[in-house]
Symmetry: C2
Subunit: 314 residues, 2 copies
Amino acid sequence: MDLDAVRTFVAVAAAGQFQDAAAALSITQQAVSKRIAALERDLEVRLFHRTARGARLTVDGQAFLPHARELLRVAARADASVRPGRRALRVDVHSRRTAAGVLLQEFHRTHPRIELDVVTLLDADVHAATAAVEAGTIDATFHAVPLPERRLPAGIRAARVIDERHEILVGPRHPLAERRAVTPAQLAEHRIWMPGMAAGTEWADYYDELADAFGLTIDLVGPVFGNEALLAEIAESAELATLVGERSRYLWPDSYDLRRIPVRDPAPVYPMSLIWRADNRHPGLGALRTHLKAAREVTPAAKVWLPRWTHRSA
Amino acid sequence: MDLDAVRTFVAVAAAGQFQDAAAALSITQQAVSKRIAALERDLEVRLFHRTARGARLTVDGQAFLPHARELLRVAARADASVRPGRRALRVDVHSRRTAAGVLLQEFHRTHPRIELDVVTLLDADVHAATAAVEAGTIDATFHAVPLPERRLPAGIRAARVIDERHEILVGPRHPLAERRAVTPAQLAEHRIWMPGMAAGTEWADYYDELADAFGLTIDLVGPVFGNEALLAEIAESAELATLVGERSRYLWPDSYDLRRIPVRDPAPVYPMSLIWRADNRHPGLGALRTHLKAAREVTPAAKVWLPRWTHRSA
DNA sequence: GCGAGTCACAACCGTCGGTTGTCGCGTAGG
DNA sequence: CCTACGCGACAACCGACGGTTGTGACTCGC
């Protein structure tokens, strides 16, 4: 199936005759005739009734038309997603399942008109992601911004948009399973398991500092067999717990009886900023910033714990 | 943008290298190279990093990939919608806004996996539609089936699936505007306007018989300026009313203050059947029949009025 | 019956997309 | 360090496809 043929089909359906469609497409009537004939041969079905007054859709043509329109729309979106100059808003998130991803999905739902592409830079820390923003390959990224010892490059802006609190995830046999909330101090006696956190990453640094601050045992090592395996292990265990972002979404089969219990007093918070180029005029970027600003839930300062190394600015 | 190129792009992204993708597509590596190069030239963007070990997606490629997949999915659906042999379930309804259309939409929502095409045969009465079912151009149609004086053709089946009751649509100044319900007899004093009902159609016959039975004045003539104009007229008028199916959906701007008032005791019912070929093995057809059976709301026989000419069978 | 309109068919031709053959280059291994 | 292997790119060739112009068959309306 050829997209040009589909475009021609839609043009003919709209015009009601080959000639006008040909004019609209700036080709000859004969070319239109050939394209339609080729499409009909390809689909093995007749799309138009030819009359002396023009062309009318057959039942098959009628059935095909909305699909053809959809096809062209999707093709236009696909094109817009990468076309330099007016491509879709491209935002980098570390994972779609954590707060930033969830917020982006929400943004997409409330702003269906804004073309949005969510990508994940491979092995990118704040600096690599910021470099990508600077280079223009992405329009924005979500990261915790380190204290301004190392200032952001000129022309780069950042704004705190997510204060992600945490919950522990435990199985039914875990001692804390029935709590409505736990404090960080209460977690000291229990083992917390976060496999797959490579040392040296921002997240590993965060959990290290958190462990230090409250005397926790946070296990960052261990083989990674995927989320499914981790969840199964947690559900079975009477000792293991893992930390998840409050707004993260991990789907698990109903057979796993897992509970999410908020960590409060103080609530450890992973502060994420949106990072973008000051001179980026993409209309979707402004909308995204406005949306994130509105969606931000600020917890009173007294009740949160923040890592020392992060950028404090709003 | 060429669909073959897009298919190739997806294959390369999956394989991680040109050679394997070429093998999977049964073409040479050189052809793959050309197709990708053409796509990149077309989109004015680099999609892959070429290395000595294969090809890795660039950020642009990563952004493009889901759109490319979607494009292929939509193309496959478009193809399936008309491909003889295994095309989508094709159902004819007179209007998408009336009960049959609304039920089909509901069916589509609850059965997203079943490819469904809703078409409207032009100028087709029961017999023309039945002929289309017989010929196989459509899988099913909704119509009131006349009494078996003229029996259905051999191999054609019909089942009553919709008993559509009615409501009158009136503006705020109409004498009946504040009623919670009206009887057909009460309508006798008022003028009912149904423009655009060509004489001789099933619907016109129905309204004729209804008018006779209760001494109503139903005006089937009048110029047709579209639904919008009709609704505007009704909303303004203190005398005009029009009949609509209970489950029909007409959207109007909020500025029109229109009320829908059920007609009951007895409730005139337009009985519609689904008509299909007994030997049609399309899997969606069975699902549709089951769905319609479950959705059917049967009003006690004593409380309904049915036209004499319709097929009484369940 | 004829003219004006429709679409289809035929002939022609350039371009595009496929193939085969070869090269440059980066990585891995001796 | 140098070589051998594997990857993708480039070049030359060729057939097929899609565009054009010219023409024919057909229908409708005056």
